[in-house]
């Protein structure tokens, strides 16, 4: 806490209780993560025997070797990075370009446009019409299907607009206009440099959304070379669950799937979550600030 003030008795109690509850939640969230991390570095037999808790047993990195040897996982990684980077650039660009005009009081029709944006939060065409739209746009089985249909999120437009409205004083605009500055120049040279927090926030929102994206990919992609990591991850973990319904399944391929799953399960979860876990702390400091401003005054 940066701004410590002298705490009264009541505040102290509040702090004690608050810290306790937050700690409990922290442990609840941390425990499975630690378990998965420890299991990913442990011998498969030790995991099966239930000897692994929060520290690796019979340390080995066989699981990670297998992950990085698996050709589909590596192509999935490359694809996911592509979708995250290209997709987020498109998202952020479009969101800023939509939000800024909507934040300007001299934009006459802004309420109309805002209503249209909000409308999409509450109503949408549904699965099959959306599928037909993507198909008619010729995007089926192309990477574009994962980049453009969700290029802009109305919710993000709203928080970005609110941020602009409340942090960019009108006086700045007037001053700039006095000096002959046009709108695009103002957006680029004045608004953006002052909007680090909100851009960080929506970047994170969009990036996480792309990283976790799986349903769109499932629906629109047919070429396995374009699959993002999540789809492959899910396939390995779900498909290889041994089902009792396989009454006529070959035992050896059944065991093969089971072994693949046991070997990859934990290391794959770690590898798939690592990029977002690494990204988060860098953006986190903006995160609280940016979203608070958006929500408090909005």
């Amino acid at each position: 806490m940066a701004n410590v003030t002298t705490a009264t008795g009541q505040d102290r109690w509040f702090n004690v209780i608050n810290t306790t509850i937050v700690t409990i939640f922290f442990v609840l969230v941390l425990a499975p993560l630690l378990y998965v991390l420890a299991a990913s570095f442990s011998d498969a037999l030790a995991v099966i025997q239930g000897r692994v808790w929060f520290w690796p047993v019979d340390f080995n990195i066989e699981g990670y070797r297998a992950v990085f040897r698996h050709p589909r996982i590596m192509s999935g990684f490359a694809n996911s990075f592509f979708y995250v980077i290209v997709g987020t650039v498109i998202n952020v660009t479009l969101t800023v370009l939509a939000a800024y005009p909507l934040s300007r009081k001299d934009f006459v029709d802004r309420n109309l446009f805002m209503t249209l944006f909000v409308f999409t939060i509450m109503f949408n065409g549904g699965l099959i019409p959306t599928y037909l739209l993507v198909k008619s746009l010729g995007m089926l089985d192309t990477r574009a299907a994962l980049l453009f249909p969700l290029a802009i999120g109305a919710w993000n437009v709203i928080i970005t607009r609110t941020y602009f409205q409340h942090t960019i004083p009108n006086e700045l605009l007037e001053a700039a206009q006095m000096d002959g500055c046009k709108d695009f120049r103002f957006l680029w040279s004045v608004v953006l440099p002052l909007s680090g927090p909100i851009i960080a926030v929506i970047t994170l929102f969009y990036a996480v959304q792309h990283w976790n994206q799986f349903f769109q990919a499932l629906l629109y992609l047919k070429d396995e070379a374009k699959y993002p990591l999540q789809l492959i991850l899910r396939e390995i973990l779900v498909e290889n669950q041994v089902s009792s319904q396989m009454t006529d399944m070959d035992i050896d391929s059944l065991l093969l799937r089971q072994q693949l799953r046991e070997l990859l399960k934990y290391s794959l979860i770690i590898v798939a979550s690592a990029p977002m876990l690494i990204l988060y702390p860098f953006i986190q400091k903006y995160f609280v600030k940016g979203i608070m401003i958006g929500s408090l005054k909005g």
């Binding site: 037999l45 099966i48 198909k135 047919k222 498909e239 041994v242 006529d248 399944m249 050896d252 093969l256």
Partner: protein
């Protein structure tokens, strides 16, 4: 002639039934598609033909398009498949969207459409009826149907049409998968033989409990354990109830119905007096502390933790389709080689059954009205059954992943081998096979004809255990309720009753065994029976019987 072909092509889009009537009259080749060569000959088409097919992928295959099998199909049949792949875990969703949006491929390869879906899309004209094509071109499909009449019965829909080609996989040990395994060294430790009756088995468990067979001085032995989620036939009830009444059910297998056929009548076993005797037996074992209580809540991972318990062995006997369910197959501990099967136990009234799972086939090859070259698409599906096509699909390239046997090489069943694996299944190049996608005809002889030099291999062990201990007691196929497809006006009602019943029956099995409900109390048993009535057992049986009789 040309305008006639145009008319027929138009009809093809609207009413497939009529087209096939017309096509048959004109000796085929007139449905508007490219002409195909005579049935059973290759290539199927004279000039290379591109064809869109859709399938659910698997993590064991990296690329279906640039794949040795896909290339072999082109070489052999002249058909270049353009493969659309979707992950199998959610394939159903994707397929539903495709069918609803009208944007679907000519052939679905491995979608396992339910009878309800087949009838629905058949009525709409989306799925084409294959009956006439089977008669005219389906040399391999006909063989499959002749060898397995039950499969044919199962594939003819209530409207009289066949909409899919069957994948037939007659796995011998899976057909009697409800097994019980015991740790053999303990039998010697307590000086007892394999039990043959329910009483002998109880004595064995008591010895496991009291005589410290693992010799560590602690009473940590678990005489009997199972699991209810995951696993494979790992629920405890199925094996033991078959010593009292024929039971086609297992706690762990949520789709099991606990129904049988007696003299042509479908019958539920869970309201029979014999069923109560069976529960009483299991309740007795439970009260004696012979069944681990976790058996009614735990999953396969926890089950395996008991089997692979570090240090001393603690798991004495367990229910499962194979011992790999509860010990690590080929694992470091080597324990999997020490578990042997116990045959079905003879009950007090002489009842002794192995649960039998007949082969009904999986619907695999469905052709839609989006396909222009229907005959070629059908012939490709029929070619799937050819030995070399099937073998390359299932196991990769000849001469690299598998080969033909030399004289003197024997199969799993001890007869001359039919084929020889060169590399283990895990080492098959991931772009050289299709890992079983599509319809095949894997007869028992084919499956057991695989060359197997190692007498300790799992498949050999399972073959021998099944032959010796389960086959002699197998229930007759006529006792098994076949899959039935219900008219839509009763299907919803039936599903509701079945779901409610499945939950209630399973709950009460566990409660009676653990003593939470008293099996000896007549009032509680009668309350159980009247609850079954209230849920609608009779109505369910009535619906099923009517459908069964009409079949």
């Amino acid at each position: 002639m040309r305008s006639k072909a145009m008319v027929i092509a138009l009809l093809l889009l609207m009413t497939p039934l009529m087209v096939f009537a017309a096509g048959a009259e004109e000796e085929g080749a007139a449905t508007g598609g490219v002409p195909v060569t005579p049935a059973g000959t290759y290539p199927i088409v004279e000039e290379t033909l591109e064809m869109e097919v859709f399938l659910s992928g698997t993590t064991l295959v990296d690329d279906f398009q640039n794949n040795a099998y896909t290339e072999y199909v082109l070489e052999k049949t002249g058909i270049q498949m353009l493969v659309d792949v979707t992950p199998s875990a959610d394939a159903q969703q994707v397929v539903n969207v495709m069918l609803a949006s009208g944007d679907y491929p000519g052939t679905f390869i491995n979608q396992n459409f339910t009878p309800a879906q087949q009838v629905l899309y058949g009525e709409q004209g989306v799925f084409l009826p294959l009956n006439d094509l089977i008669d005219e071109y389906g040399v391999n499909v006909q063989t499959a149907f002749e060898t397995f009449p039950l499969v044919r019965d199962n594939f003819v829909m209530p409207d009289g049409n066949i909409y899919a080609l069957p994948d037939v996989n007659d796995c011998f040990h899976c057909s009697m998968a409800q097994k019980l395994w015991v740790y053999e060294p303990w039998l010697e430790a307590v000086g007892m033989d394999l039990p043959q009756t329910t009483e002998e088995y109880k004595e064995l468990l008591i010895a496991f409990r009291d005589e410290d067979p693992n010799g560590n001085g602690i009473q940590d032995e678990i005489p009997l354990v199972g699991a209810v989620t995951g696993g494979w036939f790992s629920g405890i009830d199925g094996f033991f109830m078959n010593s009292f009444i024929y039971t086609h059910g297992n706690l762990q297998n949520v789709n099991d119905t606990y129904l049988r056929i007696v003299d042509g009548q479908i019958d539920a076993v869970y309201d029979a007096p014999e069923w109560r005797e069976g529960l009483r037996y299991l309740n007795d074992l439970y009260e004696e502390g012979l069944i681990l209580p976790d058996s009614f809540v735990q999953d396969a991972n926890q089950y395996k933790q008991l089997g692979e318990n570090p240090g001393d062995v603690i798991l004495g006997s367990g229910t499962a389709g194979h011992m790999g369910v509860f010990v690590d197959f080929d694992g470091e501990s080597g324990r999997w080689t020490d578990y042997v099967s116990i045959p079905p136990l003879e009950g007090p009234n002489g009842v002794r059954y192995s649960r039998f799972n007949p082969v009904f086939g999986d619907p695999q090859w469905t052709i839609t009205n989006a396909e222009e070259n229907v005959e070629a698409a059908f012939r490709l599906g029929d070619a799937w059954y050819d030995f070399d096509m099937m073998q390359r699909n299932l196991y990769g390239r000849e001469g690299i992943e598998w080969g033909m046997p030399e004289p003197g090489q024997l199969g799993i069943n001890g007869k001359p081998a039919t084929w020889v694996p060169i590399v283990g299944r895990g080492l098959i190049d991931r772009t050289s096979w299709w890992n079983q996608a599509g319809p095949h005809l894997r007869t028992r002889d084919y499956r057991l004809g695989r060359y197997q030099p190692d007498p300790g291999a799992l498949e050999v062990v399972l073959f021998n255990e099944t032959t010796a201990n389960y086959e002699p007691y197998a229930a007759d196929g006529s006792m098994i309720v076949p899959p039935l497809s219900y008219p839509s006006n009763v299907a919803a009602e039936l599903t509701e009753i079945q779901t409610t019943l499945a939950d209630y029956v399973r709950e009460m099995i566990a409660r009676f065994i653990t003593g939470d409900a008293d099996i000896d109390s007549d009032s509680q048993w009668n309350a159980y029976l009247s609850e079954l009535d209230a849920i609608g057992v009779d109505r369910m049986l009535e619906i099923m019987q009517t459908t069964y009789d009409n079949k």
